[in-house]
């Protein structure tokens, strides 16, 4: 009896301990992956500044967010492709035109990738370029003001995904189309099934004026119909070349999930843009009809001019020798990334289980020896083995994107196996791998796409968050993960949430930007047509039913703050100038019933709100930005009289306010 009981207990204990043993065999979870000194490494004490700025794409938010690294603190969300009621961007009369396209006003965009302007392959801290995927556009953000100062639409393009990557001296920003479509010059009302014969791909080269940054679609390459995904500039020896990843070389037009994944290899398209430029200069490009918007902000009137352009220069790549070569690359490549030396080109096939690394030297040799395996729509396809430096074997599943440090290492993100992997570019050996939470898309090494990576930090931009933060209903934020990459092993330091969906992001040493910041706009240089440069210049001008109010704001009053003689049916424009010339003193302006969001007006700026009063009554307006101790006193009234009434136009502030009649 005793014996039996003991035996059964023994069996129970044995089973239990086996189960416990199995449990401890399960790999460690996220909670245990952070080591001791991580907190210290990301702690930026109150009042201290971060070492790097990170500019992070906002995906379907259409905006760009600015973070400090290593703290992961959010500084600002820059309005770029989406209207922003917080600042009035896209609502004010001055800024509405920035969101104009050939389709009219569009309040939203899908922002994926970013590039800093470069000089000699290094970030120069002047401008940031951002792409819009849905209605193809490229924006330029001035890093002195962090304002979007220019947006250009891309003709003949549909889904501007392979953009806005930049050449090593900022000669061109590129824009490769995701969707191939018929060009404007071709017949467009055609069956979708005519994809292979009638559709074309477009790769645009947008020139950047070296002084002003002003953009212009210099020329477009008309290519066989495929999808362009990502791209990167050559540098050093490969300067003058650009590398674009392609997929759907199957030319599928339906169920791409399956139909564009059939071929064992798609291509990286190597483009000799210097040669293309020569062809354009030699008059080989055709001037064709197009239709696209170009929006530029004037820096002294803060006003955006939008013009529609109707022509573009096109080079047909199949007709011209020496511009384009296809490099076979396994399984629908996403990233096409060039290492800091400019010799190695890394393709990341998102369905592949290896990473091919191509050699620029070998590519040039193969081109010279015409070592082709055939042609694709008239364009030579180089032999895979002739161009290959080697393959990283079993790196992980679903490689997406690769960046580099200054010590010959590459870092690749893996979506499917949810990890970042460090490997040596020359030896192709995997050095370290760390899990990410979860499913990284792009990753960023500080300066990791330039000739001189700063290294130190890597951020993985994750697509799935699930249990990482306090839940916020079914819709969760996306996330970033910061790693220290100074050692052999990558060390996870920090998780932080992001705005919208982060795709690519770029990081730059703070010193390259923070000393050039504009603090105020010099009011003496303000040449807005409706500026009032002092309270003495405030006035109201009626012209039929159009009423222009020249208004000023200064701590802590509005001039004029009593306005009478406005009538139902009037078209009223509040042209509001912030007279302050002091750092960090914006004023806001809004009026009850405004359908144009608010205005946020920086020192020395003038912004305009259009207001159409619909009801008789007394309507209050006020300053919306807590500017001073007497901010709450910064207010006024408009008297709206019935249409056709003869209330005289009277206005003023304090002693000059209209008195009883």
């Amino acid at each position: 009896m005793f014996h039996k009981k003991f035996k059964s207990r023994f069996v129970a204990v044995a089973i239990l301990s086996t189960l416990v043993g199995l449990q401890s065999c399960k790999p460690k979870t996220a909670a245990t992956a952070v080591s001791g000194d991580a907190a210290q490494k990301v702690y930026v004490a109150p009042g201290q500044h971060d070492e790097f700025y990170a500019f992070v794409s906002g995906g379907f938010s259409g905006q760009v967010s600015v973070y400090g690294i290593p703290s992961g603190r959010l500084f600002k969300v820059l309005p770029v492709f989406s209207a922003d009621p917080e600042s009035g961007y896209g609502y004010s009369e001055e800024s509405r035109n920035m969101l104009m396209t050939s389709h009219g006003y569009i309040p939203w965009g899908d922002e994926h990738h970013l590039s800093f302007s470069q000089t000699n392959g290094e970030y120069d801290g002047r401008w940031l370029f951002a792409n819009e995927n849905n209605t193809p556009r490229v924006a330029r953000i001035d890093l002195k003001t962090f304002h979007t100062t220019e947006i250009i639409e891309i003709p003949n393009s549909a889904g501007n995904h392979s953009s806005p990557f930049i050449t090593d001296n900022s000669e061109y920003v590129v824009a490769g189309t995701r969707f191939s479509v018929p060009f404007d010059e071709d017949e467009k009302d055609i069956p979708i099934s005519s994809y292979a014969d009638k559709f074309s791909g477009a790769i645009s080269f947008i020139s950047v004026n070296p002084e002003s940054g002003r953009m212009d679609v210099a020329f477009q390459l008309k290519t066989p119909p495929v999808n362009y995904d990502l791209s990167h500039t050559g540098k050093g020896p490969s300067s003058g070349w650009f590398f674009f990843s392609t997929y759907n070389t199957e030319k599928a037009y339906t169920l791409l999930e399956v139909n564009s994944s059939q071929r064992d290899k798609d291509f990286i398209l190597a483009v000799n843009w210097k040669k293309a430029e020569e062809y354009v200069k030699a008059g080989k490009a055709r001037k064709v009809k197009a239709n696209y918007a170009h929006n530029i902000m004037d820096e002294h009137s803060f006003t955006v001019q939008s013009t529609i352009k109707d022509e573009v220069l096109v080079l047909d790549i199949k007709d011209l020798d020496g511009i384009c070569y296809y490099i076979p690359c396994p399984k629908s490549p996403h990233g096409a990334d060039v290492d800091p030396t400019g010799e190695y080109i890394v393709g990341s096939g998102k369905l592949a289980s290896l990473i091919p690394v191509f050699s620029f030297q070998k590519m040039m040799k193969a081109i010279e020896e015409k070592n082709y395996e055939g042609t694709f729509d008239g364009v030579p396809v180089l032999k895979y083995d002739a161009v290959l430096h080697g393959e990283v074997k079993k790196p992980g599943l679903g490689p997406l994107h690769t960046e580099f440090d200054a010590h010959g290492n590459a870092y690749t993100s893996f979506f499917v196996s949810s990890e970042v992997v460090k490997w040596n570019v020359k030896t192709l050996e995997v050095i370290d791998r760390q899990p990410t939470f979860y499913s990284t898309g792009h990753l960023t090494v500080a300066g990791g796409d330039s000739k001189t990576p700063y290294g130190k930090y890597l951020v993985a931009w994750n697509k799935i968050t699930k249990d990482r933060y306090l839940p916020t209903g079914p819709e969760l934020c996306q996330s970033a993960q910061l790693f220290d990459i100074t050692g052999d092993k990558m060390q996870l330091l920090l998780d932080f949430p992001t705005i919208g969906e982060p795709h690519y992001a770029v990081m730059i040493p703070a010193s390259k930007i923070k000393d050039n910041q504009v603090r105020i706009f010099d009011i003496t240089k303000n040449n807005h047509p409706f500026v009032a440069k002092g309270e003495g210049e405030t006035k109201i001008v009626r012209n039929g039913n159009r009423v222009d109010i020249y208004m000023t704001l200064i701590r802590s009053h509005i001039t004029p703050d009593n306005i009478e003689g406005i009538k139902v049916g009037d078209e009223v424009y509040f042209h509001v100038t912030n007279l302050e010339q002091d750092w960090d003193l914006p004023h806001g302006f809004t009026i009850l019933g405004s359908t144009a969001a608010e205005l946020l007006i920086l020192p020395g700026e003038t912004k305009t709100m259009k207001w159409m009063p619909k009801k008789t009554g007394i309507v209050p307006f006020y300053c919306t930005d807590f500017c001073s101790a007497l901010h709450q006193e910064m207010q006024g009234y408009v008297r709206v009289s019935p249409a056709g009434s003869n209330t005289p136009l009277r206005y003023g502030t304090g002693d000059t306010a209209p008195k009883a009649e």
Partner: protein, 194 residues
């Protein structure tokens, strides 16, 4: 010969008077005094610089803030001193150089004495302006603290509501102080030298 030597200046006094005279010319072109202001909202600080002929620094910003307490607008036109101060410095500078050339004790004493008298008068004048601005406040000002005045210190630090005001000589003021010290030093030499 002996009387002439007795009434003439030592080499040190001549050199220092000459240099002091030149230095006083320089005062015309540099700020003489400065009032530094800082507050929780102004970690970067604000500065008012007083020259012989103008106000400099962030005058507009300071005026913008002063309107809350009803302090009079700082305006260059209100200061008649700006009209003639540069000439006084020029004359005093010229007399310093002349002291070295004329080489007479009595001339040195007149120059030194008038400079020191001028310096004292200037400080008194400055104090009176500070008093005036600090006390004559607009009775309808938005911020009124019973019993509170806003006179910045003549020299040194004083807390005025949320602003700390720190009043010190700027380059020109230090030059004047230096010249004053040299004059006293030289005067001492001349008196002792029989």
């Amino acid at each position: 010969m002996t009387t002439s030597k007795k009434n003439s200046l030592s080499r040190v006094t001549k050199i220092l008077s000459f240099l002091g005279g030149l230095a006083l010319f320089a005062v015309i072109f540099v700020p003489i005094w400065k009032i530094e202001l800082d507050a929780p909202q102004y970690p970067e600080g604000l500065e008012l610089k007083i020259h012989a002929d103008k106000l400099a620094g962030q005058v507009d910003i300071i005026n913008g803030l002063n309107h809350y307490i009803g302090m009079r607008h700082l305006s260059e036109n209100d200061f008649i001193e700006f009209q003639f101060l540069p000439y006084i410095f020029a004359i005093l500078g010229f007399f310093g150089v002349l002291t070295a050339i004329i080489n007479r004790k009595w001339f040195f004493y007149i120059w030194g004495g008038s400079f020191i008298a001028f310096a004292i008068a200037a400080m008194v004048d400055f104090y009176m302006w500070l008093y005036n601005y600090g006390h004559n406040l607009d009775p309808t000002a938005p911020i009124q603290v019973p019993g509170m005045t806003y006179q910045p210190p003549l020299l040194g630090f004083k807390q005025l509501l949320n602003f700390g005001a720190y009043s010190i000589p700027d380059i020109g003021g230090w030059i004047m102080a230096g010249v004053g010290v040299l004059i006293v030093f030289c005067g001492f030499i001349e008196i002792r030298k029989k």
